[in-house]
Symmetry: C2
Subunit: 236 residues, 2 copies
């Protein structure tokens, strides 16, 4: 937690926010802050600044809010739903890297049971995004869409969001090397552990998505995602 992130429901009065249990524990036990100490805070979807720690009330009293959150990555990520423990880490990591729109997509090789995992409850997904923001000192919550049907997503939704963006689908075969350092925004689709199937690849192609590979090495989704984002926007 590199930032104490304050949500609207924590507002007590104009400049006072009630800290939740997790934040109080972190402030007192990890940061070892006491009454009157300064905290680095951010307002959810807002600015970053300093607050005074009111240990008695368990509140943060805003002193200044003048720092803009870090720049967003100009990339919309479509991710075939990974297995739950990998999803958790991946959501935190891509949020920390600055992705602001995430689509969790069904695919032939995604196990049906994954969609029923407790990791996919609204509250649980929200908590991973928050952890990603806290890690990276960001405040802007990503938007997360569940796309439980592959075909309607690719045929109906994808065309509406592709406008003005480069569309890329990661796939090890019949692909060209993934480009380095894009200057325009993009949509990137990353498949399940077993890869996209033939029908899916055909659909991506029909939608105008270009097939790209990462070289000879096969990487896990949790490694491939930061590698691809860094390669597409290395100086970000």
């Amino acid at each position: 937690m590199n930032l104490i992130l304050l949500a609207p429901e924590q507002v007590v009065s104009d400049d006072r926010y009630a800290l939740n249990e997790r934040q109080l524990k972190h402030i007192q036990q990890v940061l070892k802050k006491g009454q009157g100490d300064t905290l680095r805070v951010g307002v959810l979807n807002g600015a970053i600044g300093d607050a005074e720690f009111d240990a008695v009330q368990g509140e943060a009293v805003i002193q200044s809010l003048s720092i803009a959150p870090p720049k967003a990555l100009p990339l919309e990520l479509v991710l075939a739903l990974p297995r739950p423990n990998m999803l958790k880490r991946t959501l935190m990591n891509i949020t920390a890297m600055g992705v602001k729109t995430i689509h969790l997509l069904n695919s032939a090789k995604v196990e049906k049971s994954y969609w029923q995992s407790p990791v996919l409850t609204e509250a649980s997904l929200h908590s991973y995004l928050i952890e990603g923001l806290e890690q990276a000192r960001d405040t802007v919550l990503p938007t997360l869409h569940r796309q439980v049907r592959f075909r309607p997503f690719v045929e109906d939704i994808l065309p509406t969001i592709m406008d003005g963006k480069i569309g890329l689908v990661a796939h090890p075969y019949q692909a060209e090397a993934c480009p380095v350092a894009l200057t325009e925004p993009s949509i990137l689709a990353i498949g399940p552990e077993g890869g996209w199937n033939e029908f899916e690849m055909q659909k991506w192609g029909e939608a105008g998505m270009k097939t790209v590979h990462l070289g000879d090495r096969i990487l896990k989704v949790e490694t491939a995602v930061p590698v691809l984002l860094s390669r597409l926007y290395p100086a970000h």
Copy 2:
């Protein structure tokens, strides 16, 4: 496991290797291969090719070994010892990405107890490297050095390995942006969760290491490592 990796101790005769339990389980239960089926195999520190699966003997019979392993990353990684569960994932990931020399280094903010973790036994470390190779379809085992004392490493060992390489140390403050797309080999040092301390930064500087940052976002070690490697050698 995208490659069945065969070690010298598995040799039965010229072209026959005894498969271990973990490999047999993977071949039969995940790959669902049976008697006479073809397996993609690699010889540890050697070539990649095909073998016939002898399910009766539990052996792989080499048919061809003509494919070279993927190219190594021209980067030597110095990693402040991360907490054990992160070390495990990080070792697998950096091995999968093609790093061939890894130094696990002590640092003021590394908890002493980490060095006593069962994750750091020879057998356990070896197994993470092997898993990284199996993931990436590589055969060349990285060399892993434990550098349990910071100062002797930076003063005595580092100068001997820096020759002809760019030396970079990741640090969020008093740093310039990490370069993109190096054309020469490098040594990269990545700090512990709490960062390098002042003395350590001074020592890195004296040794000729350049301080580089990744931008406003603070990333976990497990994310920062693939991001940095991909940024330094994006087209690798």
